[in-house]
Structure formats: C-alpha cells, structure tokens
Amino acid sequence: MRVWPIFKKEMRLYFTSPVAWVVFTMFLLIGGYFFYSIFAFYTLASMQSAMNPAMGRDLNVTDSVMRPLFSNISVILLLLMPLVTMRLFAEERRSGTIELLLTYPVRDGAVLAGKYLAAFALYAIMIALTMLYPGIVVYFARLEWGPVLTGYLGLLLMGGTFIAVGVCASSLTENQIVAAITTFGVLLLLWVLGWSADYAGGTAGRVLQHLSLLEHNDSFAKGVLDTKDIIYYANFIVLALFLTLRSLEARRWNG
C-alpha cells in the first residue's frame, strides 16, 4: 500500500495553496472569540460568587469553560470541515488529474486512505492549535485534565466522521460546491436529528437520539468515555469510507 506518497502530496497541496492557512486563521479567529467570551463570562460569574459565596458552589472551570468551548468548536467545525474536504476528489475530477492518479500503481483504497489521513492530519493540527485555550485556563485556575482529554478525543472522533462524510460527498461529484453543500446538509441533518427525539418518543425516539452526531459528542466533553459513542463514530467513518470506495469504482466503469 502506497499511502504515504499520496498523503504527502495532499498535505503539500493543502499547504502550497492558501487553503490550510485560511482555514487555520478563520478557525482560530472564531475559536478565539468564543473562548474569550466564555472565559470572560466565567470570570464575571466567579467574581460575583466571590462576593456571594453561596452562589459559588457549582462553579467548575472545566465544566463551565471547556465544555461549552468544545461544543462551540464543534459548530465551527460543522461549517468549516465541508470546505476542507470538498476538494479531495472533486478537484481531481474537474481538472482531470484523477485519470493519472488512478493509473498509478496504487489501489483505490490507498488513494482514499492517503487523502483521508491528510485531511485528518490537517484537522488534528487545527485542533492541536486550540490547546492554547486550556493552556491559558490552567494559568489562572486548576483544570481537570481528564475531561479535557476526553473532550479532545471526542473532537477527533467527530472530526473524523465529518471528514469521512466530506470525502464521500467529494467522490460523488466534480463540483466542489456541490460536495461542500452535500456534506454540510448531511452533517447538519444528523446534528439536529436528536432534537426530534423528545417528541418522537419510544423506540423511534431512541433511534433518532442514537443517530444524532451531537448527542454522542456531549458525553466526551463531560469526561465520559462510552464504547457506544466510540463505536458510533467508528461505524460512521467505516460506512462513509466504504461508500466512497464503491463510488470510486462505479466512476471507473462509467468513465
């Protein structure tokens, strides 16, 4: 399997074109703003409770800063990740480079793995940059590292799912905008699916709840590691990548 050269090529393309830099900048800009407002609000709340200690019982920096931060970051990702993944196959198809790529002695699976891992690596770098925020928090307050780490694990798993869906959508079209909108639509729908669980009730409600992307992410941020959630994301990734492979093969037959 020649995954490594494909991975390197994709990373090079992300970084020689402005894509990676623009994504990093915008992500940190919005993420930084969210962090600042959450942290400032928490500062205000702790100042008030310093004056009135009875109110301060439930103040927990991990739960009141990091958890909302993670959930805000996932919303940014929902908007941003389709733009990172849309080019992976659609651009190659549009420019015709896929014809060369798919006639090199690499299996479709290796091409897919290289591309997926490159997008994932870009994402991991992006997420790693946000470690600055807990770094700032820990300078002022005592942070529980457990929930922070599981929160990051949750973000990685969820981002991996986003990327898998994005790669799949990108393999279906030669239009990058179509790929981005499809990815965004699918992800948003899966995101809000849980909302209807309450009034659907019963088994249907539980199924909807289980399918929701959001639902599974929250427990990570709380510091809960549940195999159910990990398996959910893993399943999702495997399914989306499998469909991508099928779509690549179908495209070969249709020319």
Partner: protein, 318 residues
Amino acid sequence: MIEVERLTKHYGPVAAIRDVSFNVAPGQIVGFLGPNGAGKSTAMRILACFMPASSGRARVAGHDVLSESMEVRRRIGYLPENVPLYTDMRVAPYLDFVAEVKGVPRSDRKRRVADVMDRCRVADVQNRLIGKLSKGYRQRVGLAQAIVSDPEVLILDEPTIGLDPKQITEIRSLIKSLAGQHTVILSTHILPEVSMVCSGVIIINKGSIVAQGPIDTLVEQFFPTARVEVEIVGPPPAVRERIRAIAGVLSVQDLAAANGASRFVVEAARDRDVRSEIFQMAAQQRWELLELKRVGMTLEEVFIRIVAGEEAEEAPRS
C-alpha cells in the same frame, strides 16, 4: 508487448470502440491515428487501466489490464489528453511524488527526477508552480511524469497538441529517442507526425480499426500505383495523348498550367518507372521538359482515402 483482442467499450448505448484488435511488438513506436472522436482516447484509457472495457481482452507487457491491473500499471507511463497536472504543485516535488508513487526506490529517486527533468528540458523551471507554466512546459512536465519510472510501455495521448513548431520537433525527437528500450503507443490526428515518428500505424475511425501495419505497406496497399508529375511546354491535348500512349500509364490528370506550359499527374503501375519514357517522348517531340518528378504517396492521402471511403460507403444508407 501490447496485445488487444476484440476490445469493445460502451458508454450507455453508444459504442466508443468496437471489436478493436491489434498487437504492438516490443521497442516499436506505433501511431494511433483517427479523426476526433474516433475512440483513440477510449482505447488508451483502457490500456492505461483507467477504465475497464465492456468486452474483449487487452494485455500490456504480458499482463491483463483488468485482472492484473497493478502489474500493468507498474510497467506503463501514461500521458492523458489535456495533460492534467496539479497546478498548485512545483515541478520538482511533483515529479518526485510521481516517482515515489510509481515505486522508484528512494535511493534512485533524486537522480531519476533530475535525469528526467534534463531529458524533457524542464530543469530550468523546476521550482515554479505548474499552474504558472506555459503550455509547452506543461506538456513536457507531463511527458516527464510518464517516463520518470522508466516504464516498458508508454501510452501518450496527443503528446504534441497545442505546442509551437519548435517544441513539437523537440518532443518528437524525444519520443523517437525512446524507441528500442520502450514500446510507445501514441495517438494523434496530425498525420505527418506519424510518418515522422512511428514505425507502424493503426488507423481508427468511428470506433473500429480500418487499417493497420507499417506505413510503407499501408501506402502500397491503398495506392497500388506510382505517380509522376510532369511539366512540359507543348499543346496540352497532344501532350496528354502522347503520355497516355506510353505503356503502363493508367491515367493522366491535368494540373493548373502557367506560361504556356502544362502540368500533368501521371499514374502508372507501381513497378513501372515511366519517367525515362516520358523524357524520350518529350525529346522526340522537341517539347521542352521543365519538370519531371516522382510524387510520394503520403499517409495523409491514405488516411483521407480510408476515412472518406468509409463515409462514401455509408452515405447511401443514411
């Protein structure tokens, strides 16, 4: 080296190629010739393992393109039409990527990339973005990526399209230099290119092969006659009569005449050289012979005759 047997490819109900069969011997350069839309690119895409055929078999370098696709892909260099390259990459890293993905060992890679950049004359732009290069340079980068792994078989789809005459000559001599160690199949619709570069030719029209073989054989096959062009100062009807009277002459055609001279194209059996007799005749009649030359039959004429002949055959039906 390339064996193709009854290859057919359907796009929906439309057959892009139908029952195409041919062989290419090792070390040969074969031209794949046909008008636009004849099915050249489809055939090459199948050989390059980009898409499978609907039916039929193709073997490249001894391996089946469908069941042993990886083995085939390791042994070919492919240049698709329109030369798709990563416009956001620089030339040297791009070629290094191709070499790596094609399995050139790490220790060899730097040397091979440098070597191939020299051969294709792209060394002076190696640090430029491919998207900023001129068409000629891109074409050469495309060729460089095809030969960087030193493959046994090269599949080049319209390698000289869109180049200026000087670049065309360079690319042609580069391709010619590949003969011997590499088997090359190249498609083109520029006829002189085939006669200049290739040893054999496959003519394809509307998805089917209409003629194939060494160029000389094809010319003989489609033009069993030899032609001579004559320019004589003399009364045209009388001159025509005299020439026609020469044994072996099959037909005499008028060409545009000037300054009292008349020009004719004389067609005679291939094994007969009528030039000396024409000279004798002119001398006897005391007509001034201004020009007398043999006219070579070009591949272009073969091609036009084949393609036009097919269309004439089909015309009554439609």
